[in-house]
């Protein structure tokens, strides 16, 4: 995995990946090192470039839905509903209220399990295997809920254009609330084990500090931007799916362990977001309206000529769909703008001067996922 190569001027080129022992998918970094200090980081991505955007031009609008799962398989539901929203905006379809609530529910559930995986994997990248097992144990329980809802554990394909293909039952809601109660207990346990752990804090605090202006210049979004101190959440600032009906606070980095915008802030913002999602879910279950879940649509979907850029808040930041329609049943162009792709460009800027072992912590705290970078 690691190839060493000596350059003339006492620096060393270290080749990290594409098979990297951490779990972010296949990424490769070409590092220029002076001893343990990193001089430059060159990310080499594209090992998972699956031509999703080209396939979007080859299949019809509803048939593209399963592919959106694979854009970000850790938060597949967020990608599904984002795509459905984009096509609905292009066609001018009104989604029923209950379907919108269901979309809020699935995206928040998915956000929880995505952040759980991230926190577990971050701990694993730092060398602690136990927190990962705890996080996966909790993740499995919510996977079960998804299995009840749509039949799949990971790649859900759970939205249709104009609504949702399923309805939620009273028993599922009860089971869901039970799991959320258990999750709250787990979060306390996780705080004792990981969040307040002295080793964990010293590995993350003051590492990879990104300030607000740099974050905006490098097009960071989502939790990474919020950790830098920006009060920016698309759920609140650019409301979609009736998110305006729920009360929640935007989790922002506080710099309590070190500097504002360091790796620990990015971790703690995600931990706070899990709590936020739990509270949104409880409100949504309480006020779930009755009614239809699917709007009536023609058999073949042919959006009018035009284009649309719709962005939603995925677990890894802004997920934008840029769709150009030429009036036929197939899109002329689908561009997917993802949070991880923007985040990978900042590695060189911030990574310079870090130690090698800190780069792994920094990278894990950005929550990079290879398929989102490559698509």
């Amino acid at each position: 995995m690691y190839e060493l190569e000596k350059n003339n001027d006492n620096t060393m080129t270290l080749n990290m990946g594409p098979h990297h022992p951490s779990t972010h998918g296949v990424l490769r970094f070409i590092l220029e090192m002076d001893g343990e200090i990193i001089l430059s980081v060159k990310p080499d991505v594209g090992y998972l470039h699956r031509s999703i955007e080209k396939i979007g031009e080859r299949v019809t609008y509803p048939a593209f839905m399963p592919y959106t799962d694979r854009v970000d398989y850790v938060a597949a539901a967020n990608c599904n509903v984002g795509y459905a929203l984009a096509v609905e905006k292009l066609m001018g379809i009104e989604t029923p209220e209950r379907a919108q609530y269901l979309r809020v529910i699935v995206s928040e559930l998915n956000r929880i399990i995505s952040h759980l995986l991230m926190t577990g994997v971050l701990a694993m990248d730092l060398g602690a295997y136990t927190p990962f097992l705890h996080a996966v144990r909790e993740r499995e329980k919510i996977n079960d809920i998804f299995e009840i809802l749509c039949g799949a554990r990971l790649t859900y394909n759970l939205a249709t254009i104009g609504g949702m293909p399923f309805d939620i039952k009273e028993t599922t809601i009860r089971k869901c609330l039970e799991i959320l109660e258990g999750l709250k207990k787990f979060l306390k346990e996780f705080d004792d084990l990981v969040t307040n752990n002295a080793i964990f804090i010293s590995r993350l605090a003051n590492i990879g500090v990104i300030d607000k202006e740099t974050a905006k210049a490098f097009m960071l979004s989502g939790p990474n931007l919020r950790a830098a101190g920006a009060h920016w959440d698309l759920r609140k600032n650019e409301t979609y799916f009736l998110y305006d009906r729920f009360k929640f606070d935007i989790a922002v980095g506080s710099g309590k362990a070190g500097t504002l915008g360091d790796s620990y802030d990015r971790f703690s913002v995600r931990m706070k977001e899990i709590e936020t999602s739990i509270s949104i879910l409880e409100q949504a279950f309480k006020s779930l309206p009755s009614g239809e879940v699917q709007a009536k649509l023609p058999k073949t979907l042919k959006p009018p000529k035009g284009e649309v850029y719709v962005r939603t808040e995925s677990a890894r930041g802004e997920l934008g769909y840029y769709i150009i329609s030429d009036g036929t049943a197939k899109a002329s162009r689908i561009k997917i703008r993802t949070g991880s792709f923007a985040a990978i460009s900042i590695l060189d800027k911030i990574g310079r001067g870090l130690m090698l072992s800190d780069l792994v912590a920094f990278m894990a705290s950005l929550d990079l996922i290879a398929p989102e970078i490559d698509r």
Binding site: V308, I324, S325
Partner: protein, 167 residues
């Protein structure tokens, strides 16, 4: 957005700035290639469109396009800018000096569409390997069935009409 369009026309009288109104979705402004960089820096500094949401390549019937989605945090407004580039020589100024994050998006547009961004410090392929032939998101792209020594033929013929393969 129409008022922004008239402001742009006043500010840049030499540039061709056209406003496109479509049946559905967002409207966009088509900008002259030569004036793109100055218009975008004007939008960023004077009009406070401080966020670059997305940068992408696209293709319509005759031209390649480079598309910029800007967003203003203070006024909560979005604007879409497009430049049209000829297919045989698609060249446009980079905007990476305004948003360093754009460099990677430009590399992607270069890789998949072959749009050349002038003054880009590191314009290489990003998704596909260096020895890949062609720019796959162009409409007339032909899928390869052989890459290096790997024979990548289908076991069954493909029945999707707009897939073209090399034979």
């Amino acid at each position: 957005m129409e008022t922004l369009h008239t402001r742009l026309q006043e500010k840049f009288p030499n540039a061709q700035v056209t406003f496109a109104n479509l049946e559905a979705g967002d409207h966009y402004i088509i900008v002259d290639t030569a004036h793109l960089h100055s218009i975008i820096s004007y939008l960023k500094i004077d009009e406070h469109y401080t966020i670059l949401m997305c940068l992408s390549g696209a293709e319509d019937s005759e031209f390649l396009q480079s598309v910029y989605h800007l967003f203003s945090e203070s006024s909560r407004k979005k604007v879409t800018l497009k430049v049209r580039l000829p297919k045989d020589n698609p060249e446009v100024e980079t905007i990476g000096d305004l948003w360093p994050g754009a460099y990677f998006f430009e590399r992607e547009a270069y890789d998949l569409f072959g749009i050349i961004y002038k003054n880009h410090p590191d314009l290489r392929r990003i998704m596909l390997p260096e020895d890949w032939i062609g720019h796959p998101l162009r409409k007339n792209y032909i899928d390869p069935i052989q890459y290096q020594d790997i024979n990548n033929e289908r076991a069954y013929p493909c029945d999707v009409p707009n897939v073209t393969e090399k034979k």
